[in-house]
Amino acid sequence: MRSTRVHAKVRKAKGAYLNHRESFWAGVRAEVPLLIGVFPFGMIYGALALNAGLSKLASQMMSSIVFAGSSQFVTAQLVHDAVPGLVIVLTIAVVNLRHMLYSASLAPYLASLSTSWKAMLSYLLTDEAYAPTIVRYEKEGLTPTAHWFLFGAGLALWSTWQVSTAVGIFFGTAIPASWSLDFALPLTFIAMVVPVLKNRPAIASALSAGIVALVTYSLPYRLGLIVAAIVGIAVGTFLENKTHIEPIEELPIQANLLESLDDPRTNKERK
């Protein structure tokens, strides 16, 4: 690894860039610290999905068909509550809407790729693949092999997510209901939402959405969830426009990951 890095530096000095293989492995290496946190998540998902009444096959396949952590947790919960499929699909869309930001943010760096490359990288575009990739791109600028970095990071995450789901499914069968494993779901969301409440618009957005969710809970098909989300988004956006406070820059998970990424990276470069 060290020699690769030295080679890369030499070549960069000459005005050349990492070849596609070096760029791919750089992406994989950048993803490793994040995988440590992702693995238990995948296990919890696998166990919860099974607990919610999904079959082993469906629980596993959701990790490759949908491939989006928080929406998979939500889907498991909604299946457990026997919510109609159309509402689940709409909820998945709302929960994953944030990925549109990542898409917009990475688009300039991927503009020259073929449509099939763009499609594959979009499939792999999660919170955890986006975080190290945008850090890299903003530092290195546009290079001819930049897309291999995202491919490496995304594929490392994808593989880990599939394996950890399988492990969770396997152990999930051994966990008794009295352990209240289902409570891990709201706890996961609490852990994700609290760090994002950095300013008044964000706090108001969360509180208004939460209160509307309580008031509208009795609505059929759990439509209250979507009503509450729309109210919360509108309140946050309105207050931000009114107060001109800086918007939230990162998702909580992403912010955590960036912090955990920072140290090893700067250390390496000092050496």
């Binding site: 499929g85 929960v95 979009s122 706890l187 959405a209 946050g236 939230i248």
Partner: protein, 104 residues
């Protein structure tokens, strides 16, 4: 709708969201208000899911001390605030709930 159809449509929509701007880049401008609004999706959606899970018991608002999930959830909020660590938060909340259930 069958679970496989839910996953198929959910997956296609998720892919479409991720593909959207990467595919359309340079073809149209992202309105500023939409960019701002997208920032509030995580706090709004996640809170809309969390609140009923911890405030409601048997579909009724329960603000009493008997509502173990509310207490454990509050502890988790405090732990999340100070540690900013997802796993520690989950463990703290699960432990709090287990102890509350054990000693009640």
């Amino acid at each position: 709708m069958n679970i496989w159809l839910v996953m198929l449509f959910g997956g296609l929509i998720t892919f479409g969201i991720r593909f959207s701007f990467i595919y359309l880049f340079g073809r149209f401008h992202i309105p500023g208000t939409l960019r701002k609004a997208l920032h509030y999706v995580p706090p709004a959606v996640l809170s809309a899911i969390i609140f009923p899970e911890i405030f409601l018991r048997n579909q009724q608002l329960d603000l009493s001390l008997d509502n173990h999930r509310l207490l454990a959830g509050t502890i988790a909020v405090v732990v999340a605030y100070f540690t900013k660590n997802t796993l520690v938060t989950i463990l703290a909340g699960m432990l709090a709930l287990a102890l509350l259930q054990l000693f009640s």
